[in-house]
Symmetry: C2
Subunit: 186 residues, 2 copies
DNA sequence: TTCATTTCTTGATTTCAGTCAAGTCAGTGT
DNA sequence: ACACTGACTTGACTGAAATCAAGAAATGAA
């Protein structure tokens, strides 16, 4: 199947699984379709699954009085989750929303636990938490706006194509005007 | 034993363990003593264990050209680890150093895996990753210096007693002068 | 097409935290 | 008692990014 090979390719990057182990993962995964602006996880709900984007894009935001504060951006061929809520299994502070019509695969925490009971091989799925953990290193206040932009340009360039400037500015915690000026100087 | 009851009390907060399960955890844990300025984990090493501070204090810092940039502060009766290195099992960017003569308990990743093989109950140990995950929410650039100080004052007041002002300022990513001024206005 | 709305850019001004600098205070050693 | 050091405070100045404001460009709807 087309979808499965895409997912397997992404899984190969995070661990060493046999064909039968791939099949076990797919047996536990749920295919889902969402329309633009559909909500995948609402603030207050517990994030009990990890997701793989086959097609589309998602963003996570937190309400701050009036406006949406963007926490994470995700494009196709990426795994994502609300890291804090998933790890703690407590209500999420953030909402996850589809930015475009999307197709995703869902692997819930019970399935992951079952898989790990079957074999410690599936511990490697824990590495899916890695990107979020690594990312937080960079977005402490030690980086200047220009450094943040260059970091995204180098490490996640597809974000810049997939989302409007003001989403990226919010994600990078700077004013849209500032991002516009930085981009102006190539 | 004195130490065990301290640790069990801390473990009760994160999960529901039986007496025999407590014993299994202690059987896998290593007791260690460190002197002030002893290094627990050096930059470049993989963080392969989680630690519980029975007595003393620790800090994690990252070298930035000349000066130490403080990443985390830990006081007694807390679990800690280098979150990123532990989750990814890749070399740490940070060094963990004893701020005072300390006594700790060490539970390495192999022991944790063994425990989880014995029983899924020990999955709850994963919750020890929680504090770090929760903390990163707050230290994105959305908070003003005063808000950061108030957050620490409310959630981790013992840090303010345990470490000198300049350590806390570095941890909160602000100039020592700024922290001093904020504190001046109660 | 035209009009309306949103997105992005550009300029002028403001503000808040960082830096620089000087001084106080407490602790240590001689 | 004295100087020396490190921790903290306070004031003056600076600079980078936010804010305010206006307008241009792109998008979409009628």
């Amino acid at each position: 199947m087309e979808q499965q090979s895409i997912v397997n390719k992404a899984l190969e990057k995070i661990g060493d699984f046999s064909a039968s182990e791939f099949n076990m993962i797919h047996a536990h995964a749920q295919f889902r379709q969402l329309k633009k602006n559909d909500i995948l996880l609402k603030e207050g709900q517990v994030c009990s699954a990890i997701y793989f984007i086959i097609k589309g894009a998602f963003y996570q935001y937190r309400m701050n009085d009036v406006d949406e504060n963007i926490i994470e951006l995700h494009v196709d061929n990426e795994w994502f989750l609300n890291n804090t809520s998933f790890i703690t299994q407590k209500p999420s502070f953030d909402t996850i929303k589809a930015y475009a019509d999307s197709e995703i695969l869902e692997l819930n925490i019970h399935s992951i636990h079952k898989l790990i009971e079957i074999s410690p091989v599936f511990f490697q799925l824990g590495k899916l938490l890695q990107p979020a953990a690594v990312r937080t290193q960079f977005f402490d206040n030690t980086m200047t706006p220009a450094e943040k932009y260059n970091y995204v340009l180098e490490h996640r360039p597809r974000l810049l194509q997939s989302f409007p400037l003001k989403y990226i500015a919010s994600y990078l915690k700077m004013a849209p005007e500032t991002l516009s000026r930085i981009r102006g100087k190539h």
